[in-house]
């Protein structure tokens, strides 16, 4: 017999009133909004109530500001008759990490925890406010809960609160394994099998599988079919980019291999230690250490549930770091997001999509909570806002790792045990895509657990701690993470060369009733798979016990080249690794030259240059990201030496982040990124090249150089069945490859995310072509970074790389409804010369400040540098450019290869004379706090820096509630 208790914790003892900032942000400061924490406990009835009360008082409240109320059953404390209430709790089956922590404390207190159960929730109380039921429910569901993962109920003033038991048992499903009648099926029937099972296999793939099983003279089991579907999915094997593409009559055998990888091969850089084969690329740091680097996307989950989607995105890429070689220590997170415009009117938000503001809030909170709790600094990234992402946001998460060079290689040997460690397996992420379009019904309990993944960063931190201890003791011979496809991909990949046998019933489950197929493909988070020589098993499990990490022996790697799965002893799948990994038929795809962008003039409606500059500074893409950056712990681990913010007030932007991986002056690593979606519709080739250029510029401006510079590519593309869109990918990868060659910077890893489309107004729309390039540079010695903030009044400003700047593809154009037009081109000879010169000058110590010219062009770059220089102003004279370019092009035009640099006046002549590339002295630093830009006698811009700063700080203020 078990007794249910509800413990409600309120903060009435807080002398500041105990109101809740998040709820206050939603309903307004005129309402007193409170948040109580709810703990539902199921405790054996033999335990005296007094013990439960003591636990509630000393642990769940545990604090003089908080008060615990214990009620038997599901029952809540009395409340003021004027109070409306909303109860919110995770749906049963959805990950509830807090419950696990409470169970830990119950165990420490001596409760028989195996017989206890815990769920948690929260209770919002709103005093002296009389909303309608619909109003209250609407506000809660759109701001404080997500109906996809949370149950929610509201009660108006005076109404009694009722809540169903959160301990509903999961219906046990049929535990069998079935065969699928495939051999006799015709095309229609094959397609039906794929659709019903959510397998997403093409007809050609289904026919290949059919032929294979006809040959074997048996039907496949459902587990086998799922394994094939997972292994052959776009997500796992990137079949679009690895299949032949017919592009304008030319056949490309393997797009990335022939462009991006080819350049890496050609450059053959000695610092590349492992490229495009492991979970991350690996480059040398010194003789003893190496760096791993990887960026992933997590777009669709973030669109559905921004908080959980982004959190598990960062969690997933961290596991790539842990799964590279024998495992690297994550030392930096990066994040780049693309959202729809924050002011998108409600009627322009596609049905089923969340408003961009809500997505931004959730995504940032998700990255914050995962990264901060893992203790990894999130210190580099970008956030872009563009109408093309309104129904399909992009969330890129990156992870840089530190690994001993002698841990880069891994080798699975037959006889090694297959050991899974970390989180338990549930229905998480199983066929999530098919769920999102269904109504929430009584099935939701099971379905919602699969639809969205909620991360538990502390589980992953424990896994990291335990795994790296085991690595340092040499206890395992290979490791990989469970990502897409779960065990099926992890074990399938590790056993590819030898074979594997797995007993699925050994996997610890979150709840009973999982079918073997579900255990095998579950995408439950925070799990790693190790190959462990049997002699090391005991020691490994000792470490796991101390670190409180669950582990299980799933099976054993074999030498017979077969993948054999059992469930309670019965064989449920038996397939050859060879067919699994090499059987996928390669379909030729068709691509054609991208369609040119429509020509549309920009409409400035007579705005002055000063007004245009203020508009750009106030556009969220360019605006200060400080409200986001401050929420990220960007300094934990003590390695960061150039953070995302700079200047005396710590509020101006840097171009990239610099860190000392070994916490000494032996080496400095600089990490930056480039992303140019506005250029994509004009010229995808140029977008590829200039994204590389921007990443390189950011790194070089922050003290990096071209000596040891490595790149990552992340393609986020729309519907690649459209030949023009696939053609743009061809062009883009060629541009990126040519730029990488020019810079001598090899790509070392990458990932593509295709089919980013959404429905709006009855038609399917693709996102803008988007390539994210991430760059990492290793520089021997102490950090060189000059930072972007202006340092000394009287010093000179040099424009280094005084190359063309155009309005085509610029943010000025994007903001004012323009399209098409002339755009600046990548220069494969001039670009690297300029970058080398800048790096050399910075190394010489003569550069006081440096900033690359990107979004918004020269005027925005100058304004940003002045914002960092307390009280500084800038006076620039553009007369030097002659009559050719227009005022708008000079002020706001964009293009590659340009840096704005502050140097002492005494150094100007020597620097300019030594340069063989265009360098122009363009102005000087003043102390009058104004940004003045003249062209000969004409004043183009004359704005107080303080006002530009205020404008620039406004857009993202207040998005997360609370005070600013």
């Amino acid at each position: 017999m078990r007794q249910t208790y509800t413990v409600t914790i309120d903060a009435t003892g807080d002398p500041q009133g105990g109101t809740d900032p998040q709820a206050t942000a939603v309903v307004g400061a005129q309402v007193a909004s409170f948040r109580d924490d709810l703990y539902f406990l199921e405790i054996p009835a033999s335990e005296p109530r007094a013990r439960v009360e003591e636990f509630a008082e000393s642990f769940l409240a545990g604090d003089p500001a908080r008060r615990a109320t214990v009620r038997e059953g599901i029952a809540f404390p009395e409340r003021d008759a004027t109070e409306s209430v909303a109860l919110v709790a995770r749906k049963p089956g959805v990950m509830d990490p807090i419950a696990a922590s409470v169970e830990h404390a119950l165990a420490d207190s001596g409760f028989p925890v195996a017989e206890c159960d815990v769920r948690t929730g929260r209770r919002y109380r709103f005093r002296n406010w009389s909303p309608s039921r619909e109003e209250l429910k609407g506000l809660i569901e759109s701001h404080l809960a997500n109906p996809l993962v949370d149950d929610c109920a509201v009660f108006l003033g005076g109404e009694a609160e009722a809540w169903p038991s959160p301990f509903r048992a999961h219906a046990a499903a049929d535990l069998g394994c079935a065969t699928v009648a495939l051999r006799q099926a015709d095309a229609t029937e094959l397609q039906r099998i794929s659709d019903d099972g959510g397998l997403s296999l093409s007809l050609e793939e289904l026919e290949t599988i059919q032929a294979h099983y006809r040959q074997l003279d048996r039907e496949p089991t459902d587990v086998e079919l799922e394994t094939l579907a997972q292994t052959w999915s776009e997500h796992c094997c990137h079949k679009t980019f690895t299949s032949p593409i017919n592009y304008e009559g030319e056949t490309i055998g393997n797009l990335l291999k022939e462009t991006i990888f080819a350049v890496t091969d050609e450059l053959n850089a000695p610092f590349c230690l492992s490229v495009f084969r492991d979970n991350a690329g690996v480059i040398a740091l010194d003789d003893e250490w190496a760096l791993t680097f990887k960026v992933e996307t997590h777009n669709h989950p973030s669109a559905l549930e921004p908080y959980g989607g982004a959190g598990t995105g960062i969690g997933g890429v961290i596991r790539d770091t842990l799964g590279t070689g024998l495992g690297a220590r994550p030392i930096l997170n990066t994040d780049v997001f693309c959202f729809g415009n924050l002011d998108t009117p409600a009627d322009q938000i596609p049905q089923g999509s969340l408003p961009p503001r809500r997505v931004l809030q959730g995504v940032v909170s998700g990255v914050r909570d995962y990264g901060n709790r893992m203790g990894i600094p999130t210190a580099n990234g970008a956030i872009l806002f563009h109408p093309g992402y309104v129904g399909n946001p992009l969330v890129f998460c990156g992870s840089l790792g530190l690994i001993p060079r002698n841990c880069i290689d891994k080798k699975v040997s037959p006889g090694d045990l297959i050991v899974a460690i970390g989180g338990r397996t549930g229905r998480d992420g199983i066929h999530g895509a098919t769920f999102s379009s269904r109504e929430l019904t009584e099935e939701s309990e099971t379905l919602s657990a699969g639809a969205v993944q909620i991360g538990n960063p502390i589980e992953e931190k424990k896994v990291q701690d335990a795994q790296l201890r085991a690595r340092d003791e040499g206890l395992y011979s290979a490791v990989t993470d469970c990502g897409a496809g779960g065990f099926s991909s992890a074990v399938g990949e590790m056993g590819e060369e030898c074979g594997a046998e797995v007993e699925l019933s050994n996997a610890p489950l979150k709840y009973a009733g999982l079918q073997p197929r579900e255990i095998w493909i579950s995408e439950a988070q925070e799990r790693m798979v190790l190959a462990v020589p049997p002699a090391n098993k005991e020691r490994l499990f000792e470490i796991l016990a101390e670190e409180e990490v669950e582990g299980c022996v799933l099976g054993e790697f074999k030498a017979d080249g077969m993948l054999r799965l059992r469930f309670h002893g019965d064989v449920v799948a038996e397939m050859s690794m060879q067919f699994l990994h090499d059987g996928l038929p390669r379909t030729t795809r068709h691509a054609s030259r991208p369609e040119p962008a429509p020509e549309r003039e920009i409409d400035l409606a007579g705005a002055s240059h000063g007004e245009l500059l203020r508009r750009l500074m106030g556009h969220p893409t360019i605006a200060s990201k400080e409200p986001v950056i401050r929420q990220y712990d960007h300094e934990v681990q003590g390695r960061i030496v150039l953070g995302p913010l700079t200047g005396e007030e710590h509020d101006a932007p840097n171009d990239a982040v610099a860190l000392r991986p070994l916490r000494d002056d032996s080496n400095t690593v600089v990490v930056g990124c480039g992303i140019q979606p506005c250029l994509g519709e004009l010229d995808a080739y140029e977008m590829g090249a200039q994204s590389v250029d921007e990443a390189v510029r950011n790194v070089v401006a922050s003290g990096g150089n071209l000596d040891e510079l490595a790149l990552l590519d992340n393609f986020a593309w729309g519907n690649v069945h459209d030949p023009h869109i696939l053609g743009a990918a061809v062009e883009c990868s060629r541009g990126a490859a040519d730029a990488a060659r020019a810079y001598g910077a090899p790509f070392v890893s990458g990932k593509d995310s295709l089919h980013n489309t959404f429905r709006a107004g009855g038609v399917s729309r693709s996102i803008p072509h988007t390539l994210l390039v991430s760059a990492v540079s290793v520089v021997a010695g102490a950090p060189l970074a000059p930072s972007s903030d202006l340092k000394e009044a009287g010093s000179s400003l040099l424009l280094v790389g005084a190359t063309a700047s155009r309005l085509g593809g610029s943010w000025l154009q994007a903001l004012h409804g323009g399209s098409g037009g002339d755009y600046a081109r990548f220069d494969p000879h001039g670009g690297p010369e300029i970058a080398r010169l800048v790096a050399d000058w910075i190394a010489s110590g003569k550069v006081l400040a440096c900033h690359d010219l990107s979004e918004g062009g020269l005027s925005v770059a100058a304004a940003e540098m002045a914002i960092g220089g307390s009280g500084s102003g800038v006076q620039m004279q553009l007369g030097v450019f002659g009559k050719g370019p227009s005022d708008l092009e000079l002020l706001f035009g964009e293009g590659p290869h340009r840096f704005l640099m502050e140097v002492r006046e005494a150094d100007v002549d020597a620097l300019i004379n030594a340069a063989e590339i265009p360098v122009v002295e363009i102005g000087r630093v003043t102390d009058d706090g104004r940004l003045s830009i003249l062209r000969d006698e004409t004043v183009l811009v004359d704005e107080p820096v303080a006002e530009l700063r205020a404008q620039w700080k406004e857009p993202l203020r207040g998005v997360w509630g609370g005070v600013e």
């Binding site: 545990g62 950090p783 600013e964």
Partner: protein, 262 residues
């Protein structure tokens, strides 16, 4: 015999690496052990002169920050830890470690009152550098009156003191270790980043051997970690040395702890 420090680790501790580095920089011999390991052999504590609870998100800060770690210590290690404190050896809790020491009642200590570290008034986690001034209570650890620049990074750092009667009241001045300082008094947000009463950033117990700090001194071990060190370069452009900075490094605290007897 060298000075030995023990850094306590648990699920979700995440500032242990830089804390070990800070102590080693200061000259200590350091071990870093999981709380489960220490609970299994509590006599280990006898080998150390200093016990450090570093920052992090132990158990995700579920229930409240530091709550689950504090509960584990209370249930499994309270007596030996109490003995350690009573022997007068140094105990330092930073950020999550401070929160745990407060939940355990080791801070403010065995006198008439309890404290809480409540959610920031800003309503969220914030990472920023703050100016601090060492108060009277800092004496065993920092130079009273000295100003420091050190980062904070937390969501629950609002110090609140409650007297013996359970009512909120002032915390004794002589036990304030460090306060946030700013352009006016009381220190406004964001210079006081969380709304702490009396601008309190850290306190000691009555004996002065237990110190709790919300700011992270271990994140400022080298001049290039100063948030605007690029403004203090030498004339040749070289990165600044310690003496070029207008404030001492955070590692000062660890140096003093390791090198001076209580």
């Amino acid at each position: 015999m060298s000075f030995r420090a023990l850094v306590v680790r648990a699920a979700g501790t995440n500032c242990d690496g830089e804390t070990v580095a800070a102590l080693e920089d200061a000259g200590a011999a350091v071990d870093r052990l999981h709380v489960n390991h220490i609970a299994g052999s509590p006599q280990l504590l006898d080998d150390y002169q200093m016990l450090v609870f570093p920052g992090g998100f132990t158990f995700g800060d579920d229930v409240a920050s530091g709550a689950v770690l504090a509960h584990t210590v209370r249930q499994r290690l309270m007596e030996p830890v109490q003995r350690f404190v009573e022997s007068g050896r140094r105990v330092l809790g930073v950020c999550n470690g401070f929160q745990a020491l407060v939940r355990l009642g080791l801070l403010p200590g065995n006198d008439n009152g309890r404290a809480s570290l409540l959610p920031n008034l800003s309503g969220r986690f914030e990472d920023r550098w703050v100016r601090l001034r060492a108060g009277a209570g800092a004496a065993p650890w920092l130079e009273p009156g000295q100003e420091y620049l050190i980062p904070v990074a937390h969501a629950e750092g609002r110090f609140q003191f409650f007297g013996a009667d359970g009512a909120a009241c002032d915390f004794p001045e002589q036990r304030i270790a460090v306060q946030y300082v700013g352009d006016s008094t009381p220190t406004p947000y964001p210079q006081n980043p969380n709304g702490s009463q009396q601008d309190i950033a850290g306190i000691t117990n009555e004996a002065g051997n237990v110190l709790g700090l919300m700011p992270h001194p271990e994140r400022f071990l080298a001049p290039v970690q100063h948030p605007h060190w690029t403004r203090f370069r030498g004339a040749d452009g070289a990165p600044p040395r310690e003496q070029d900075l207008p404030v001492p490094l955070g590692v000062e605290l660890y140096r003093r702890a390791v090198r001076t007897a209580l």
